[in-house]
């Protein structure tokens, strides 16, 4: 009761000072830094006729790059969702030597320049690299294949799921689990029917963020992807390619499509998110 009350008072206009100036400044920054620059994309793309636009964004090679980019991003985000939950769970629930270090390291992909990450990963997973040497004879080729794209995307997206799930688990009410145990649920039932459903919105948020980041990623991927048209060429690279052919309009057209698609996906995931939290609504 206390909590819901607090919430209801956090809502409402109230009389705290400073709304107008801070809102004004926020909108101004948003306009100058985000909205105006992004709008140029649409203006530039609008210089194309519809057919040209379709030609630019629906060429087979471009379509293939969407498939590669969004497909790998999806896979990577799923991987991150899976391992991210395990990592978050382990870091929160268990105590083992080195836990703090691992915990701190989770943020590394946020902090490491993506190009460095790409170069390093390519070095490790190339056929003469530390792991490539081991994997190649087993028939697993990572670097310069779509698997490499997935790998780089997993790397850069890793912190998102962990860092969104972790606080939820930390604040998770143990009593809920205990209640389920007293009602006769076994560990597996408790996890699948009580813990995971409650963690799900956070996982979804992390998944969404990891996905959005992966879709746009460029720096780390070009070094490890192999960049083969139709196979391992990502959309951001295509945008760059078009740019270097002086095809500004084509590049922005693809950029607009990318922007819209990831926006739509974000939107869908946000709706899903809302649905997954429906029980929290008053």
């Amino acid at each position: 009761m206390a909590r819901s009350l607090k919430k209801s008072h956090a809502a409402g206009w109230g009389n705290l000072p400073g709304f107008a100036p801070t809102m004004g400044y926020t909108l101004l920054c948003l306009l100058v830094v985000v909205l105006v620059p992004l709008s140029t994309l649409f203006f530039k793309a609008a210089t194309l006729s519809w057919d040209e636009f379709v030609g630019a964004v629906a060429a087979p090679r471009v379509l293939a790059s969407y498939r590669v980019t969004f497909g790998a991003a999806l896979l990577a985000a799923l991987t991150n969702a899976f391992f991210g939950v395990i990592v978050a769970w382990t870091l929160v629930r268990y105590r083992f030597p080195g836990r703090r270090i691992l915990d701190a390291l989770v943020d590394l992909p946020f902090a490491l320049p993506t190009a460095v990450a790409g170069i390093t990963l390519a070095g490790i997973f190339a056929s003469n690299g530390l792991l490539g040497k081991v994997l190649e004879p087993l028939g697993v080729k990572v670097a310069f294949t779509p698997v490499g794209i997935w790998l780089a995307m997993v790397f850069i997206g890793l912190p998102f799921v962990v860092r969104t799930v972790q606080p939820v688990l930390e604040e998770f009410d143990r009593e809920v689990e205990e209640a389920a145990a007293c009602l006769g649920g076994n560990r597996w039932q408790i996890c699948t029917r009580v813990v995971f459903p409650l963690m799900f919105p956070a996982v979804l948020t992390g998944f969404t963020l990891a996905f959005a980041r992966a879709v746009g990623e460029y720096g780390s991927i070009v070094f490890i992807a192999g960049n083969m048209p139709m196979v391992s060429e990502i959309t951001p690279l295509l945008i760059i390619t078009k740019l270097e052919q002086y095809d500004y309009a084509g590049a922005t057209a693809v950029a607009v499509v990318m922007l819209l698609v990831s926006f739509m996906l974000l939107l869908v995931l946000n709706l899903l998110q809302k649905w997954s939290r429906r029980y929290a609504e008053q």
């Binding site: 090679r61 056929s127 690299g129 270097e244 052919q245 002086y246």
Partner: protein
Amino acid sequence: ATELLNVSYDPTRELYQDFNKSFARHWKQKSGQDVTVKQSHGGSGKQARAVIDGLDADVVTLALAYDVDEIHNKAKLIPKDWQKRLPKNSSPYSSTIVFLVRKGNPKQIRDWNDLVRPGISVITPNPKTSGGARWNYLAAWAYALKQKGGNEASAREFVGKLFRNVPVLDSGARGATTTFVQRGQGDVLIAWENEAFLAVNELGKDRFEIVVPSLSILAEPPVALVDKVVDRKGTRVVAQEYLKYLYSQEGQEIAAQNYYRPSDRKVAAKYAKLFPKLRLVTVDQTFGGWTRAQKTHFADGGTFDQIYRPSR
């Protein structure tokens, strides 16, 4: 002191590092002024675009004439006849395309037709983004054309086959070299002659060797003054001298030392031993000039894209 900006493509880093020092000395002697030349390197197309978008290059020294043409077309920073303003079509040095293979040439690669053998893995950058790669592509095409019974269709099939042997397409010549040398990908790297020399000398004579194909293309990287920029900055004189100096004895020697084929007869003779002799075709003769070559082969939907069109 005056400052020049030379916007160039990837493999010329070392060349211009040496050349700039020499030029600074030369200019000091000649005019008593200090000059520093800043360098910018990247894929040739990317560099041209930067100039088009406002990168204040006093001179451009790019991989293909096409890229300089675009600077004229898109931004009018350079007059249309820029190529006529300097000797040798504005190309103070030339190069060609050769192969780099692993020591001992384990896959027995001798000529272009070895590259299309099944199981051979070829490393070359992406022609859509790399100037060097376009030379590679055109050299292969020319080779196929010049074979007995060669025609457009057979050339197209040949190049298509070749690119199906390519496992990695880097965006620039340097990236491709790294992939071949450092990552151990592929059996053969198609590269600028100077790149190949550099790789062998820098990264190990014991690890790589150069294979010279029977036929290749004469690559003439052009240089140009960016008129609008030098006029705005008031650097026309020194920039012109900079380009001129490329054709001088010293300039030509530096080019040769960096494995670019000098255009000056005397210097060429001096370094003749360095550069293997082979049959060279030119873009103008074989492909009707860069603009046409660009349009048929590398533009969106051109032959290169068709090579990668899904057969299904």
